[in-house]
Symmetry: none
C-alpha cells in the first residue's frame, strides 16, 4: 500500500525520521480533526516537511491513509485454540481490536468511501485488510471439519460475512451503538450454528 523499502543504496538515503513524522501526523490529524482533515498539505505541515516528500513515499492521499491504518492491522497468526468456538472467539477478539482502534474507527469509513468506484484500489484494500483474515478463517473451518466438529460446509464465505459484517456496520455507523462483547458472542453463536447445519436445511 506504500512505496516503503525503496532505498537501493545509490543517492541520498531517505530520512527515516520523516517516515515516522508523517505517520504520526496522519494519525494525529485523523484522530483530532477527522478523515476530511487529512490532506496532503496539512499532513506535510504537521509533519514539518513538504508535499514532495509525501508523494515520494505514497502515490496518493488514499495510499497515505491506508498505510496508516495498515500499521494497526495485527499480523497475529491465525488463532488455533483446539476448538472451533475458541478459534472463533479469538478471531472476533482480534477483529474487534482492529475496528476499535481509534485511528481505524476514524478512518475506515472515509477510506472505503474514497475507494468505492475504483475496482483496482478496492481490490487492493480488500486484499490488504479483509482477505488475510478471511483466509485464516477458512483454514480454521477446515481444521474443525478435520476434527469432526462440523460437517463439510459449502459456503464458508457467508460465515465470514456474518462474522465481519456486523462489526463493520457498527464502526461505520456509530449511531448503531458501541462495538461491544455482546456482538462478539452473538456473531460467534450465529457462525457456529451455520457451520453446524447445512444451510439449505435451515
Amino acid at each position: 500500500m506504500s512505496d516503503k523499502g525503496k532505498s537501493a543504496g545509490k543517492g541520498r538515503p531517505r530520512n527515516a525520521a520523516l517516515d515516522t513524522a508523517i505517520a504520526t501526523a496522519v494519525e494525529q490529524l485523523l484522530l483530532t480533526d477527522g478523515y476530511s482533515a487529512v490532506t496532503i498539505d496539512r499532513v506535510a505541515t504537521v509533519a514539518g516537511t513538504t508535499r514532495t516528500a509525501l508523494y515520494r513515499r505514497f502515490p496518493s492521499r488514499v495510499a497515505l491513509i491506508a498505510n496508516a491504518l495498515a500499521r494497526h492491522f495485527g499480523t497475529d497468526p491465525a488463532p488455533d485454540t483446539g476448538t472451533l468456538r475458541g478459534d472463533l472467539i479469538e478471531l472476533q477478539r482480534l477483529q474487534v481490536e482492529f475496528f476499535r482502534a481509534p485511528i481505524v474507527a476514524a478512518g475506515i469509513a472515509g477510506l472505503i468511501g474514497d475507494l468505492s468506484g475504483d475496482p483496482e484500489w478496492s481490490a487492493l484494500f480488500h486484499e490488504t485488510f479483509m482477505a488475510p483474515r478471511r483466509r485464516s478463517t477458512q483454514a480454521m473451518f477446515q481444521r474443525a471439519v478435520d476434527r469432526g466438529e462440523i460437517p463439510p460446509f459449502t459456503h464458508p464465505s457467508v460465515v465470514s460475512d456474518i462474522l465481519t459484517g456486523p462489526l463493520l456496520l457498527h464502526v461505520m455507523l456509530p449511531a448503531t451503538g458501541p462495538l461491544d462483547d455482546t456482538l462478539v458472542v452473538a456473531t460467534v453463536d450465529a457462525a457456529m450454528h451455520l457451520l453446524s447445519v447445512d444451510i439449505h436445511d435451515a
Copy 2:
C-alpha cells in the same frame, strides 16, 4: 434530508421540473461516473441549471446524494406474513432490493464515508436509512414472541446487525462478491437461531 416541501405559499414557487432534473442528474452521474463525479458543479450542469438552484434545495453535496438514495428507499409496511421466518425472508428481500439498486450500490459507500466524523449528519443518516427498518424488525420479533414462536429476547438489536451488516459489507466492498440469495438465507437462518436460544446460553 432535503429542504423540499418548504413553500408556505409565499413567493415564486419552486420549479418542480428542476427538482426532477436534479434528481435525474444525480442518478445519472452516480451510475455512469461514480460517487466522486457527483459534484455540485456537474450536477448543475447536467441538470441544466446553476449551483444556486442546488444550494437552494440542498445544504450540501451529502444532502443532495442522500436525497437521491432516499428516493430508492422503500417505505413498504413492515412485512407480516404470519410466521417469523416468513417475515425475516421478506425483510431481507426488501433490504437486498435497496442495497442492490445501482444508485444505492454506487453511492452508499461514498456517502457513509463523507458522513463519518460528523455525528449530527451521521445520526440523521441512521435515522433515515437504518432506524425505520430496525424498528419494524423489532416489532416483527415482538409479534413472534406474542405468538409463542420464540422466547423473550433481550438483545434484539444484535439480530438486526446480523441481518444488515453482511449486506452492507458486500455493498461496500464489491470484492467480497455479489449480494446473492445465499446471503439472505444464511442471515435469516442465523437470526432465527439467535432468536430461538437465549444468547448467553450459547
Copy 3:
C-alpha cells in the same frame, strides 16, 4: 436619474414612506460601510422592503446611488453678485459644499467608476451633475463680458475644468488632503487670470 413621479392615478399608489426609507438606507450604507456595501439586497434589507420595490423605482444599482447623490446636489440659482470674482467665489462655495457632503464624498468615486465605459450612463451623469453648473458658469462669464469686466473668451469650458477638476481630484483621492478654502481661492484666482488674458497670449 430615477423613475419617480410615475403615479398617473390608476392602480395602488406608491408607498411614499418606502421612498424615504430607501433613500435613508442608501445613505446610511454609503456612509457607514462605503460604496461597495450599497447592494440592492442590503439596501432592501436595511429599508425593510424587498428588491422588487427597489427595481420598481430604479432601473439599476447605479441609478439608485446616483439618485441618492442627486438629492444633495443644490439647485440654487446661478449666483449673481454683480462682480465676476464674487460670482466665482460663490460658485466654488457651492461646488465645495456638494463635494464635501459626506454622501457625495463617499459615493462619487465609485459611481463614476461604475459609469465608466458606458457612454450613455456617463453622458447622463454629466448632464445631471456637471452640465447645469457649467451652463450657469458660462452665463456668469457672459455677464462679465457684458459688463466689460473681461474680454470675450473663446474657450470658456477650460475655465470650468480648472474650477471643478481640482475639487474632484481632492474628493476622489483623499490622500491629496482635505478640500479646503485655499483651493477655492486658488482656483478662482486662476480662473480670473485665464479670463482676463487671451489664452494664446499667455
Copy 4:
C-alpha cells in the same frame, strides 16, 4: 502594487511568460470590453492560465489592474528645460501622455472607484501614481525660485492640483470632451499665474 520580485532563489521560479501573458490579457480586456470586463476569471482565461496563478501574483483585482496601469506610467526624470514655463509644458505633456494612454483612460476611473473607501489602498495608489509627479513638480518650483523666476511660494500643492485636476476630470468624464492641448496651455498658464503672485494677494 504587485508581488513581483519575490523569488529568493528557493523553489520553482515564476514563469515569466505568464507574467507577460497576464499583463497582456488585462490590457486587452480593458481596451476591448472595459473595466468591468477585467475579472480574475476572464483574465485567467484569456491569459491561458488559472485563477490560482493570478492570486499568487496579485492579492486582488485592484492590484492586478493597478499594475497594468503602472506599466504605462512613465518614470522619466523630472523635466528641467531651464525655464519654469518650459518645465511645466513638458510636465503636462507627460501627464497627458499618461492619461491619454488607452489603457489608462479605460481603467483609471474604475480603479479609483474601487479604491474609494479603503484608505490603505487609496494611499498606495496615490503614492504610486500621483506622488512621484507631485514631488518632481515641487522640485521644479524650487528651481524656479532659486533662479529668481518666481517668488517663494507657500502653497505649492494647490498648483499641482490645478495642473492635474482638470486632466483627471476629462479622463474620468469623457463627456467633458477630449484631453486636448488647449487644456495643457490653459493649466500651465494658470499655474504660472499662481506662482507669480502670492496667493492671498490675488
